[in-house]
Amino acid sequence: MGEVDYARIFDVLPSPFMVVDKELRYIAANRAYLETTGRSFDEIAGQKVFELFPNPGESGDRLRASIDKVMATGQPDTLAYLAYPISRSSGGEVENRYWTAVHVPVLDADGSVKYVMQNTVDVTEFARIRAAATVPFTSLSAETRLIERTREVEAANADFRRLFQQAPAFFAILSGPTHVFTFASDSYLRLVGGRRLLGCSVGEAMPEVRDQGFIELLDRVFVEGYVHQAEGARLMLVRDEGKAPEETFLDFSYHPIRDPSGEITGVFVQGTDRTESVRAARRQRLLIDELNHRVNNTLATVQSIAAQTLRSTADTIKAREAFQARIQALSKAHSMLSDRSWHDTEIGRLVCQELSAYEGAQVRYAGPELVVNSKCTIALALLLHELATNAAKHGALSVPDGVVAVSWREDPEKNLVLEWSENGGPAVSAPSRRGFGSRLLDTVVTGELGGQLDVRYEPTGIFARLVIPPAAYIAQELALG
């Protein structure tokens, strides 16, 4: 057995190899290298690499840095992916090619770096596959060999993976016909309450989705290559382990993942959790409906006030004044309700507000702090206004010495008892014709509020007692889901 001819082996290695010294001058190059570069060894021997193949761009810098690193450290270095245009012959057309380059130190007897050997692999075809790929993960299988042999791709892949891992949208990769999780992003895990997914099929990991049509969809994607996209899809999903499924809304898509031969190997899942925005939109819809309802009801009330005022008051000027005063009373009550999100008002403030137009000395109030709901607020505001207007026209407030006393309390049955008592005014008697004010008082108290009304025309002035049952005035939570 003769001696092994290393030089010959070097020359016939199928991938391109070359060796440079510390000044980056060509020391050796094999046949594959010369074929790739379209030069003869005589043309390049002793020439500097970057003078022969100048590349002032990023790729040139990376190549130079890699060789320098090997020179300095004595450790091999790999460039996984390098765009490097070369001319296929001297003076020939320059062509964009992509390369993976491995630099290996060649040590002298002392162990210091004497030469650097470079092995390049033309990966232009891979690069084209990569450029054509739309779903990022589909390109991985085509590049598997590269990934395996290069640390840089591993690092890049780790970055890539981290990007998906931490993205705000959720991602998952399901493999095989039973849709086994092989990747799930952090946000996907959060979506499903941190359950164990990797290595489990969708049906195993999330039993609650089995009967909701998603597995059938995944089957279609896997078998037919169908792409499924959904917006605001509703599902019942366990969001916290051990708890009941919750209504969840998702925008999501399922894409088939294909290997280089076109065979479907899995399903790429991506999407965003829209539950909060769907809830917010629903709540907003509800609030708009409620607002619309209230505005329409208020307009109906205003319309009625106008119609009633015009019917009961023949004089146009008086009718206009009465209408404005009634609208004013309604408006004050609305402002008070608005201050408390239309929930309730404190009755003392309501009485005070509606009687604020009259002399302080002529109006007295007494009663505990009591809240009444919005419906009762509006009803009482209109009543107090009618009572006060009547007092100013015919009763205690029509003379300087007259006094109106308003008191309220809660009786043992929790009824709200409100008393209106006039003193010092002209003598009054029951009107012969029932006017708007008394019709309103009667209908509001006994009809609308379901309470009792006692009105007496005493020689000293009008006395009215309103007894309002708790169901009609106690504030209830606004029913917003």
């Binding site: 409906d289 619309n292 309802h293 209230r294 505005v295 329409n296 009801n297 307009l299 109906a300 009330t301 205003v302 319309q303 009625s304 006030i305 119609a307 009633q308 019917r311 419906k375 009803a379 209109l382 019709r439 309103l440 209908t443 509001v444 009809g447 609308e448 379901g450 009609a472 209830q476 029913a479």
Partner: protein, 122 residues
Amino acid sequence: MAKFAGSRIFVVEDETLVLFNLEDILTDLGCEVAGQAMRLDKAVELAKTVGEVDAAILDVNIGGTTVFPAAQILAERGVPLLFATGYGRDGLPDEWQGHAVIVKPYSPQDVERALGPLLDKQ
């Protein structure tokens, strides 16, 4: 314009002023308000006990609840129903969509137009 002279109308409306207005509109149209309720309990009771009526005008939202329990009784009695609501037709659940609706605030003409076909069916 006693257009619907002698027609007997049952009314449910929880706001006094709106009720006054509706009563006046109905009176002007020649109708008789055969019964009126402002709260659900009274509306349900009257829906059962009120005599023959030609139509019912029902406010959908009454005092934080809905008029439908009373509407159900009236519908079973074969009384034509006209719903009044500040939400418009969208505020009416599917099962009541077949009935007439007027949107608050309504004019006398709205009431007349909506009530006419219900009384013609009699």
